[in-house]
Each structure stands twice: as structure tokens, then as C-alpha cells.
């Protein structure tokens, strides 16, 4: 793969060790990690990235395969790192599927017929965990989840990520908050926990966290099942802080944030900060998975109708802005040498996705753009997934909330024979997960990559 610049991390570790800046155990730990994991960053854009259709601009083909249309044109400069998937199915059945499919994007787990939830009357929830959560489980490192104004209907962030209890996993909605929570206080080199595991405050808080679990558990045992979910989340949150305050290793400090995000900065700046934090998080092994939601970054009169439904220059200018920020991060990632001497980009898969639902929206051309990951699969391809029409399309089914396969899912006149479940299953396997299927069983239809 093309390398813009190389910086051998292995050499750096040894040099730091020689200079006494890393402990011997840290060096051993770092050098032992000679198989770099595939990191996965998903960038979810309100409505989707679009490659053709009534609201979209078409891709064209050249001798090398494809050319991104005006608006996504910054991606042409990194085309050799891109893999384009032409069309995937998502949640079906409902005409106005954009609003309904948020929970399905990273899960393929919203049952047929579900159209709302206690979270929001427009947003059903998933019954299966999201890919970022599975990767988090696998690595033992919390996924980064950021929202740059990816919201609607008054909810603070769209329900994208789910654990195994169908609980919505929270997103940071301000880059400054994310920084304060994840990065602030990290020393420049390897750190022994927040303030050090031996600090008096850490010891006291550890006792507090241990203590408060008991009354919560007693309360948990005494309440109706329907309410237990609230205490499940509470107990998970306690554990989250408990883990955070017992961190002893993690941040190697070889990659630094370009700048510290400021409170009150624009959502567009937040987006750039998020990408920066993801890059640094991946490079320093703070996490292996991240989700960034991108939405109404630029104030518009009526985002939903004017922006997302209109093939206007404004619409495409925003995409160009987002694409530029992504390309900048991609180039920077390609300069970082990973544990295995490949570039960080070659060990990172960036998936650009969006509301993949269909209903009356034709999904055949609803594309996914994959960037990076060259160390794990062939990149630089346009993948046309099989398309079903006519009666063949009737074979597409989806489980309802009781697990019964339902027919008459309202796909478009033609429909893709591959789903987001297929994509995440393959991505998960390449990232080390032991998956035979992902999301709802019916959505596993075949390989893509």
C-alpha cells in the first residue's frame, strides 16, 4: 500500500526504552503486540453518503473502477484505499425509514414491525448488540462513541450503539466533554491510571464504587423486570468508572492530539476533534473501535427536507467538508506505523455508512464506502452486490419481535441481496470476532468483501 511517510513505532519504543522513558515491562508488552488488530471506525452520516438516486449524484466508472462524484470528490485522492459497496439492505417495511433505521445501522437487529420505543416514538431499538460493542467486548477497551450533531426529533444523539441488553450506549455530544473524559489527565508517556492507582482519591473512589453496587443490587432484586434495565445501566456505569479508575496501562503517548478541543467550538470543529481523538486512540491502543455520528453540523433552515432530500449544492458542500476532514485523517493514519510495521491505516477500517433502510427508498444504490484496512482485505474495489427483483425479492424476510419470520417486508421494487449484517459479520471476523452470524439471523445472506 502507498505510504505517505513511515515512522517505525517499534524503533521508537526501543529508543524510548533506551532513554529510560519506558519501563522494561512496558517495552515487553508493546513489542509482544506484534499482531496489530484491525481497528474499526464507523462514520455515520445523517441519511447516508449517497452515491446515486433521486437525492444523489452518481458515481462514474473509469479504467480503474470508479470515480467519486462531485461533493465526495476529496475521496478520489485516496481512492486506492477505498472500497465501495454498492447497496445494502437495512430495516425494511416502513416508508419513512430514515428515522426508524438508526438503531439498525450498526446492529441489523431491529425486528420487523418495530416502529417506536420508550426512547423515542420514532426510534425502535435493536435486540442485538452493535458491532462496536462486540469489538469492545473483544478488546476489553471501551469504544469511542462521538456525535457531531447526529440527532433529530429532540433526542441528544441517535440510538446507534447497543449492548447485549438492548441498552443504548451513550455518545459524547461535545468534543470537549469527550476529551475531558478520555484524554484529560493522561500523562505524556505511559500512565499508571488516573492520578495513579495509589492516589488517595483513587483508593477512596474505588471503595465508593464497590460500596454503592450493593444497595443498587438490592434495589434491582426488588423491582419489576421492566424497570431493571435502568439499574442495569446504572451498574454498568459504575463499572465503567471503576474500570477507569483502576487503569494501569494504556496510553503510550507516541501519538498526540493535534489540539485540545475547546468548549463551545462548532460541531464541525467537534467532528475534526473526534477524528483526531480516534486516530490517537487507535494509534496508542486506547481503543479498537469507534463510532462517529455526523449530522446537522451546518445550521440550515430545515435540515431534513432542504438538506437531506434536496440535491442542492449546499447538500453536497457539506459532504465535501466532511470528506475533506476524513481524508485528512486518512492521510495522517497512513503515516503512522503500527505494531506490525504496517501503517495504521492498513490496520484500520473506516466505514462510511448512514441510514440504510429502504421502505420506499430505493436501496440498490445506497452505498457504503470503506477506507483503509488494506492489511486485511483487498481494497480499491467497487463491489456490486447481487440485486433481487420480482418474485426473488419476496424471499427477503425479517424476524418480528417474536422471532417469527415475516413476509411482505416492504422492500423497494428491487432490493440488494446483501445486508448490513453481512458487512458487519465480515468486518467483525476480520477484526478477530468469532462470528457465524451477526444481527438478526435472517439478515445474514452472504459474503460481500
Amino acid at each position: 500500500m502507498t505510504q505517505f511517510k513511515t515512522l517505525n513505532r517499534r524503533s521508537l519504543i526501543k529508543a524510548l526504552s533506551a532513554a529510560g522513558l519506558l519501563s522494561a515491562s512496558s517495552v515487553e508488552r508493546a513489542l509482544a503486540a506484534n499482531e496489530a488488530p484491525l481497528r474499526v471506525l464507523t462514520i455515520v452520516l445523517q441519511h447516508g453518503w449517497g452515491l446515486s438516486g433521486t437525492s444523489n449524484r452518481f458515481m462514474t466508472e473509469d479504467t480503474n473502477g470508479f470515480v467519486f462524484p462531485d461533493g465526495l470528490d476529496p475521496l478520489n485522492s485516496i481512492k486506492e484505499h477505498c472500497t465501495v459497496i454498492d447497496g445494502l439492505l437495512g430495516l425494511g417495511e416502513w416508508g419513512n425509514n430514515h428515522d426508524l433505521s438508526y438503531a439498525d445501522i450498526l446492529t441489523a437487529g431491529v425486528p420487523f414491525g418495530q416502529q417506536n420505543s420508550s426512547y423515542d416514538r420514532h426510534m425502535p431499538l435493536s435486540v442485538t448488540p452493535s458491532i462496536d460493542y462486540l469489538l469492545q467486548e473483544h478488546s476489553g477497551k471501551a469504544a469511542f462513541r462521538f456525535s457531531a450533531a447526529y440527532r433529530s426529533w429532540g433526542v441528544q444523539y441517535h440510538p446507534l450503539s447497543f449492548d447485549r441488553n438492548s441498552s443504548i450506549l451513550p455518545f459524547y455530544t461535545k468534543a470537549s466533554d469527550a476529551y475531558n473524559s478520555i484524554y484529560k489527565g493522561l500523562p505524556t508517556l505511559e500512565m499508571p491510571g488516573l492520578g495513579g492507582s495509589d492516589s488517595a482519591e483513587t483508593r477512596l473512589l474505588s471503595q465508593v464504587f464497590e460500596f454503592i453496587k450493593n444497595p443498587a443490587q438490592q434495589q434491582y432484586d426488588a423491582i419489576p423486570a421492566a424497570e431493571k434495565d435502568k439499574l442495569d445501566r446504572y451498574l454498568l456505569a459504575v463499572k465503567h468508572l471503576e474500570d477507569k479508575y483502576s487503569v494501569t496501562v494504556g496510553y503510550s503517548g507516541t501519538e498526540r492530539l493535534a489540539r485540545i478541543p475547546e468548549a463551545g467550538q462548532s460541531s464541525l470543529d467537534d467532528f475534526s476533534s473526534y477524528l483526531d481523538m480516534v486516530k490517537v486512540g487507535f494509534a496508542n491502543n486506547l481503543t479498537t473501535s469507534a463510532v462517529v455520528g455526523v449530522g446537522d453540523i451546518i445550521p440550515l433552515n430545515d435540515f431534513h427536507h432542504v438538506h437531506a432530500h434536496t440535491n442542492s449544492s449546499t447538500y453536497w458542500n457539506t459532504r465535501r467538508t466532511y470528506a475533506q476532514a476524513i481524508v485528512k485523517m486518512v492521510i495522517e493514519m497512513s503515516k503512522v506505523v503500527d505494531f506490525d510495521d504496517n501503517s495504521l491505516l492498513d490496520n484500520t477500517l473506516i466505514v462510511l455508512t448512514g441510514e440504510v433502510g429502504d421502505g420506499r427508498h430505493n436501496v440498490v444504490k445506497k452505498g457504503h464506502i470503506l477506507i483503509g484496512g488494506g492489511n486485511h482485505f483487498d481494497v480499491g474495489r467497487l463491489i456490486n452486490v447481487p440485486v433481487l427483483t420480482g418474485s426473488a425479492k419476496d424471499g427477503l424476510r425479517r424476524e418480528d419481535i417474536n422471532g417469527t419470520l415475516q413476509t411482505n417486508v416492504r422492500w423497494s421494487r428491487s432490493a440488494s441481496d446483501r445486508t448490513n449484517a453481512d458487512l458487519w459479520r465480515e468486518v467483525g471476523i476480520k477484526a478477530g470476532l468469532n462470528l457465524t452470524e451477526f444481527g438478526l439471523p435472517s439478515q445474514n445472506r452472504g459474503d460481500i468483501l
Partner: protein, 978 residues
Amino acid sequence: MSLFQLCSIALGLTAIVAVAGCGATQESRSSQANYASSSLKDAGSSGSPIDEVSSSAVSSASVSSNVGSTVSSVPSVGSAIDIIQDYCTSCHFDTHMQWQNYTTDALWLNAQNAKGESYINELDPENSLLLKRMTFYRMGAKDMPVDNANQAEPFTLAHYQKVHDWVIALAGRTVEPVGDNSVKVSQVFDEDGLELALECSPVSAQPLEVLISDPERFNTSTIAGYEGIKVRAEGASSADIAALTDVTADDSFWLTGEGLDIWESKIYFNALSTAVTHAGDINMTLDIHQVEGLSHEFAKVGLLVSSTDDLTGELVFVHWAGQHGLAEDSGEAKLDTYRQIEKNIDTSVPTTLPVRLKVVYENDKLKVGACYNCDSPAVGLPKKFNFKPKRIYIVASSHAQTPLKARLSLIDGQASKGSFKTVHTATVDCTSGVARLNVPSTALANLERLLVEVRRGDTLVAGASPIKAYSESASCAAQGALLEPKLRRLSELQIKNSVVDIFGDIFNENVWPELEDGAKLIGMNSNADKLNINNINFERMLDFSKAMIETLVTQHPVITACADETSETCVTSILTAYGKRLWRRPLTSDELAAFTLALNNINGNTEKLEFTLHALVLSSNFLFRSEIGVLLDGTMQYQLTNFEVVAVLSYALLNSTPDDELLELASQAAAISRPQLEAQVTRLFQSPNASASMMEVYKDYLKLDLVRSRPKDESLGFSDDVRHDLLDSAELMLIDNIEKNRSFTDVFSGSRYAVNSKTASVFGVDYRDSEQGWVDIDSAQRSGLFNHPAFLAVHSTLAKSGIVKRGVFTLEQLLCQELPDPPGDVMPVPLPEGVDPSVTSERELLQLTHSAQAACIGCHQVIDPAGFGFENFDTIGRYRTVEKGSVPIDASGVMDNIGSYVLSYGTSAEFSRELINSPQLKTCVATRFLENFLGQELAPSDCEAAKYNDLIDANGSAVKDLLLSLIQLESFTRRELK
């Protein structure tokens, strides 16, 4: 409402025609209408009137299936189901696409009954969702334009009328018993149960047998009357049914299956067979519970129908196949056409069981269907044939040398008519000429509809089909409509108020947590299911806890003194005293012991206090208000504890933790009485915090806090200072109105606004003081909170007034109206040639480019008038009579489709006053308050919301009455799991 009443309505609407669905001619219905009713309840009772069905009245009332009524004056528009299938694709409301599966009356009925759908309201068919939606789309008033490109013709009044009549008839469709005119039955069926009054003439010494059944469920049919048959290569032969079957105690039966093949012309099986009667109609359901001895992947069990008396005609075989799912085979004298119905996902294992297979023949159509473990399979035309069946076979074929055994049960909807699932039987003595029978609701399996048959010996002498009608006095508990037990996380403001009330106002403004809860535009933000502790919120709580403790150990006199002491006793005192306030109940001895144990491992009072305060504030016992209660034996109901009750009251009234007096009251052994609660409402309402607390509910209802963050065009100069001061102004106006003890809707009224030098230009007044001061503004221009710039700036777009935004908010939030979601691919329509947008009003542009579209007009006819009424104000709430320099503003409109009260207005100020005076707003505001108080989403029609509104109507409409009515609700102290 009985069938009798339903059909009266139908006749009233289509007076000159027969209503086939009501199963009688107009004349016979008229005679029914003249039949006198009586009442079982005493005069003055609020119980339902007796629905009276005499044997003569029902003698010809056997109701048949009807797909649309026969309406001679209506042009031919196809059947009602066809109309729905053809036209309703863009109605896009919640259960939208389901009806594509409902191709028969039976499926429609089942969907409403068994699946709980509500397209057709059987108790009140005129209020059926289906009809309401069509009315919503202005059906009933005029024809509607072509709705989508697939439609060949517009949806007209004739279509509406057809569907209307069908709904009315379908809702009332029951199978009526017949009688011999010797017994008259009257009944009341309500929350208490069924009361039957029988009048017997002539009197007979023979007792009456009363059979009460569930009209939605058939008893399992027997296989008596079926013939055994074996079909092999050498031909068909009779078989001893006893040799083929083994009937079990639960009415299911084992069928032995044999035969080496069952495909193409090799149709080999064992079967039970019967000729089809009932003019060819079939409604046959076969449940396959178990299959034993399966040895071939293509073994099959199912229902086979034939167009002839044997297997030489057209055949359709719907079946369960060993490892290949559910399917339909068909052919002429053979089975060579295959259609998969449900696949077996893993064909390496046997196909899932149980399954239900169905064959229906009605309205000249043969339909089959199958599903896994379901109530009602969707049925559709077979792939190849549509024929009138003459014979039906219950088939089992092992496809192997060895037999299989299938455990089956049969529900023959034709043969079983009159054999519905029995729920209660009784013997009644009517020798005196009259008799009564009371059946408590507990004996009626929570059914909403019943079938009553009265027999004397073998003779059916009378019957009735009562539908449960709750009396006005029926409690929500009796209706199973109490609110649910909940854990409710404290809001940011409740955390702040609670901590300040407990420790004093000694904290900096920057200590309070900012939690990631989002701000819902529709509904109330206090919803218990919306407020959670997740990782981020818990991080914020930890930051808050640290900051709070830092303040307490340095500034709080008691805690500071304790930190300096060497004795640990004060730590325990602080734990006990402040723990009770923070957890809203005394700590149990176990909890105190756990604290003591933990504190023993900590050195120094400062550290002990830090641990104690962290552990109290970060505990779920502080963060979550418990409205769970104690489960009452033998019920799903939970009785809230006294401490929970006072917490509900305190947070409802003061948005804060219960004070010492409330906690003392809660400690009494007896349940807190209503007079005690009323006294506390009166006491607490005198607190200055009460007005502020009520003000917060109004703010949430209006979503005023969003004025701080709504993006606005930079050219407007809508600075943070202006936003802040406008919000402050609105809060002052609300508090002023609350404290004037106005009615809770008049709180929105008034033309005195708080203004300062920064907001004066927005209000359009000359006011130069930097402090807020009251200014009277011409009420013809600006009137009440709905004309306040803070409200108007929230509900508008970046640079425009936002007619649609304001309209939708008015309908959904202010008036609690339900709107469908917008359709998917709506593209703006180009402006007509010659229209210059720079000299055309936004109102007109909206109608030209958006609302006029066929897919939009239905909703926008309702939405737009609810938004036009704010057009006298621009995006930040400045008054205007023109826009774009000189284009006149038209802020007039009529809202005539949101209930009986018509809102008609000429200006925005008039619209504001109309809203405030409308009963719809009053009902909705009360409902929103109740949602806030009890933390659960409610519609005005929900039982507790309806009761609450009734109480307010009875008690008074002052703000305080919102609380006095609250404490009278059952759900204030009792909850129920759904």
C-alpha cells in the same frame, strides 16, 4: 355497543339502503329499534343501559361475511378491502403496512381482536382509526386528489362511504344465536361482570342452561364424522379411523402417516377425509403440535383440498414438510407445483413445530396459509388454482417405509359455528317468569366480548352478544389501566433543588451536573423511561459529587465541624440525618451497618465524610426516585409506600426532595389519608418554590429552554444575552400569572410582558432600563405566552417563521393531537411559472410548493392552519404586518378538524386567545402536567388522564387544583404492571 346499536348507526348513515353486514333488512332493523329496553341497574345508576336482544329480534340476525356493504346509491368502487389495499399506501401511520396482509374479513377481524390492532374499533366503530384517518384526510367533506402515481382514480366520497359502511358492519359482526321467542334476555356487561335478566314466557318448569362463550375462539373440533383413507400406488382405500388415529384427552389426536412419496402423481398418504358442506365454504385450521418417527426430509403433514370427490381434480396441499419448512403443493390430479410459504432456516434439522395451517374458501376464493407458532396465518390465493373445494383431507405421509405419528388438533370454523370456547356455564330457574344471573368479571377471562346462549334442554331459546362497556364510575384499576410502577431518575433541576434544600444554598452555580438527557420536543422531559444513568451521566455525577463535597467540607457548618473532630460519632449522625433526606427515607439498619463497616476501613473524619457523601449521592437510592411500591398479594398491583407517596407529592409540587414534615408524615404506620395529603398540598403550595416548580412544567410544555440554543441567522443579532433575557422574561410572566392564582390555562394569557433594554426591540417597544420591567403591549398585536418571543423563537426556523414547525408543535404538543409521520420521498414542487417568491408570502409559497402536493395535502390541511396563526411574528418573535418589505401578512385561519371546538382567528393575538380558550388545550395541558407529575407518557384518552380531567372539571381549574386532583387519582398511590 351491541350489534343492534351498531347497525342502527349504519342505517342512520345510509338510510335508504340495506346494510348487508348487519344481516337484516331495514324493516327488520326498524322493528328491533322499536323494541323496548330496560335496565337492570337502579334509576340514577351510571351503569350502561341494558342491551336487549330478544329471541325474535335475533331470529333472522345471523350475520354473514361481507366485504363492503351493498350500497346501491354508490358508484361501483370495488370492495372495501380492495379500496384499502389500493388507496391507503400513503396513509403512513403506525400500523400502516400490516393491512396489506389482511385480504379477508376474517383476517381483519382477527388482527383487531387477537393482535390488538386498532384500525377498527369494535366498541366504537365510528371512532375507528381507519375512519378517523380518512376523515383526517378530509374524507367525508369532499373528494381528494389522486394520492400517488400508482392510483388510476382519485379517492372519492364514494370510496370513503364504502369503507365506512364496511367498518361499521365488520365491527358489529358476531355470530348470533337463534331462539324460539320464549325467553327474552337483557344484559349489562361492565367492569363488574355480566348481569343477565331473563324473562320467560311461557313459563316452564324446565331450568335454563346458560352458556357463556368467547366468540373469538372456537372449541377444538372433533374428528367424528371423518372417514379414514389410505392412498397408495394401487389406489385409495378406506381405513379404520380407529387404526389411523388416537384421540388424546385434550382433544388433540395422533394421526399415523404412511406412504412412500407425496409429489407429482405419487400421492401416497394416510388421511382423515370429509366432504365439504356449507355451500363449499371452508374455514379450516390444523395445528401440528408434534411429529414423531420422522425419517425423511420430505415427509409431509397438512391439509389437502380437492375440487372433486377424489384426487382426480384440482388439488392444493398446504403442509409442514419434514426439513423443508411450510409450503403449498398443487396440481391437477397430481402435485407438481411448489410454493414456499415459510422456509426452514436450517434444513439440516426438522422444520419448526408447532405450526398452524389454514385453508379458507369464502367469497368464491380459495386461500391457504401457514405459519410457525402463530395465531392466524396470513392466507392468500394458491399459486396455481382457485376452485370450489368438494373434499378436504387431513394428510400425513411419512415418505418412507416406516410410519410417522403427528399430533394434531383441528378447528373447523364452519362446523364449529355455535361451538365457541366456553368460559362459563350456569343453570337458571325461570319458573317465576323472571330470572337473574350475575357472573363476576373474574369468571369471564377478561374478555371484552361474549356470546351468551340460553338453552332449554336441546333448544336454543335466546342469545345475546354483549360487548363490555365500562361504566363511567369504573375505576382505572378495574379497567386494568393504572399507571406502571417506575424508577425515576432525578432531573438536573431536581438534583440541584434537593441538594440545596438539604444542605443550604452554599454552592457555586458551576457545580451542578449537566446530564446528557436530550430535550424532547413533543411530550415532557420528565418521562421516567427517558432519564437514565449511563456512563457519561455517571461521570458527570461523579464530577458533581466531588465539587459538592469540596463545598460541604469547607463551607457547611455541620460537616466542616465534623471534619475537624477526632470522634467518629458526628460522621454517623451526618449519615443518618442527611441520608434520610437524600434517600427520601430512613436508612435501614442493614444499610447503616454496611456504612459502618466500610467507614471502619477509612482513616480520618474528612475522608470518612467524603466516602459517606459520595456513597449517598452516587447511590441509586438518591439518583432514582422509587415509585415501585409493594406487590399486593394475588394481583399485579403495587401499593406505593408512604415514603414513595410523599416523594411523588414533593417532586410534583416543589421539584425537590420531601422536607422533614413530609418524611415525618410518611413514617406513620397507616397509609397517608387524602385529607392529610390535601393539607400537605395546601401547605406546600404556599412555598415560594411551588410557583417556580409549576413554572418549570409550563416551560417544559412550551419548550422555552430551547430558546438558548435554537440556531438563528447571524444577521438577526439574536445574541446569547437576548436569548437569556427573553427566557427570563417568559419565566417572570409565567410566575406572575401562576401567583395571581389564574386558572391553569389562563397562565398563558396576558399582555403585560417583562422587557429590558436588550429585548425591547424584539418586543417592539421603547424601553431603556437594563433591568426587566413590566410593559403593557397592545393586546391586538401580542397576547399571552404563545405570542412571547421566547416561545416564537424556539418554534421557528433559522430565518423564517416556520409555519409547518409551529403548526406541528401546536397540534402535537399544545393540543395533544396525533399526527402521522411525514412521507418518505417528498421533493419540493417548483414554483409555478410567473410566481416571484420575493413578492409572495411564505404562506402562499408553502401552499404552492409543498402543501398542495397530493402526498402532503391531507396532513397540511390540518397542520398549516395551526401554523398560520403565528404569522404575525417572525423567526425571533418580532411583530409584523408585512414580510419581504411589503408583502402583507395573513395570520388568519380556521382549525375545524381537531374536535368539536372550532378555532377561528384573524390575527396571531386572536389565535393565542382562541388556543387558551379551547377545551382541547385545557385537556392537553392537564394531561401534560399529569405526565410530568407521574413521569409516564399519556394521551388525553387514557384512563387516568381522562379521570384527571374529570376531577379538574369537578374541582376547579386553578393551578393548585392540578395538585389537588392529582392526589385523588388511583395511580398516585397504586400502580399496576401491564
